[in-house]
Amino acid sequence: MTTVREPFVRRLRTALLGTDRTALLFLGNFEVEQRWGGDELGLPKVALSAGDALVNRMDEFTLLLAGPDDYVLLKDAPDPGHLAYLESLGVGLPHLLITDQQDPHHTVTQDALLSPGLLARLTALTGSVAIFPHGVSADEEQLAERTGLTLAGSPAATCKAVNGKIYSRKIATELGLRQSTGWTCESIAELDAAVEQARGLLEAGRTVVLKDSYGVSGKGLLVVRDVARLEQIHRKLRRRADRSGDQRLALLVEEWVAKTTDLNYQFTVGRDGSVQFDFVKEAVTENGVHKGHRMPAGLDQRQLATVTETAGALGRRLAADGYHGVVGVDAMVDPEGGIYPVVEINARNNMSTYQVGLQERYVPAGWCALARQYPLHLARPLRFAEVRDALGPWLLSAAGDAGMVVQNFSTVNALVRAGDGPADGRLYGFLIAPTTDELMAMDGEIADRLAAAAEGARP
């Protein structure tokens, strides 16, 4: 494994395509797990689609990862004020392509497949551009087929296979990596056995978690603290199987272990099987749901060595299973400082992937950064100009300064535009400061100013 530093996007092109001369078409199809896991039987599903419209506008994260020669495909044009702001920072913006139409509940790829004008423009790029999605599902394969463009990455079937949490657990076991006590359940019979084991953990005062193999990080899980709840979910899953006659499952039962810190690290597996370690960051979560990242992660040498060695071992194992592309791994630090080096493998881009371009351009050596989301309750769409005015000097104005870059603005208005009443939006910001204390003070000030701006967008 090598650790040579050159711009991430150039390394990415070389790793995926064998040359850095082919431009990439970035496609932000977030929560691709929904496509991979569509036919899998995990925990009982409840049809909640309200948040889809926001997740689908996370496509705009690609804007700050792509290079100036690359292409970015979006569901809708970015706020002109946001683009002008990014240009004022010296960002060499990529070529922008917009779908002919957009349905808030479609991913960018699904909208693209329904856009004849766009498909014709993409077809004209054949030979000089390769599609680089957030993660490869059947939809992205179809887009490649319809346009004749190369797909940079592994086939959807391979991506799906290596993204299941069952796969993570099995290869961690095979490689002898430390993980919490747990069991994979690919059938009701395996669930029955796992429930018996988990009962023992609960009776010993421990906590247990059931996880969908294809759940999005922090979602599709059920924390169980007593035997009655375990038996209740066991009955529910058995009843579903009895009714349908389908005994398959794609579920994990694990001990919910104590941790002090969530980590996220990334490596890239090249077409030639080479593995390059990209970074490790501290994940900021609230109630198990991802809220952002702090960097640097603040690990000691021993902890860092565990992470990088694990990355190398996992990368070689994934390459052996035919995968090449970006891999993000969630990990944890326990209260004694020990590392659980693999909680789950996400063989796709991760939120932290989209921060790399900002780190390279705007974080001076020795400084620190925080990527996070700010919730905004809005009665009407907010313009970027209003946010710029509200933030004042806290908005980054030049490389080398302290301040926040607005990383994704379309997620601010996604829900209020999609619905017919007040709705919650998210502003994704990337904060840069010389010290952690200054970073945290900046975070508090920005949260207050954004809340005031949102208040102004209410009746």
Partner: protein, 91 residues
């Protein structure tokens, strides 16, 4: 007692059950939850805790909820979830 007043009494009891389940999931005592409280917009209920909410509700009602029959609009407010419980004959 007429049928209409019985239905009224039942509904109020179901609303109380839903409120009890919501508070159990949130694990917070600093929120006021009423029939009109919007579950997602006001309380932040989402796909990460909706299954837990249904299981708490099953405890309260001593009934089994088939999650396949639930749709987005049932989760609009405490009241709409209570209506779903009554429609399904779970109370």
């Amino acid at each position: 007692m007429t049928m209409a007043s019985e239905a009224t009494v039942d509904r109020a009891a179901v609303v109380d059950h839903v409120i009890g389940a919501v508070i159990a999931v949130l694990n917070r005592d600093d929120v006021e939850v009423t029939e009109g409280t919007r579950l997602m917009d006001e309380l932040g209920l989402d796909s990460t805790n909706v299954l837990e909410l249904l299981m708490h509700l099953e405890d309260q009602l001593d009934a089994v909820i088939d999650s396949d029959t639930l749709e987005q609009h049932h989760f609009a407010t405490v009241g709409t979830l209570a209506d779903y419980v009554l429609e399904q004959g779970l109370a």
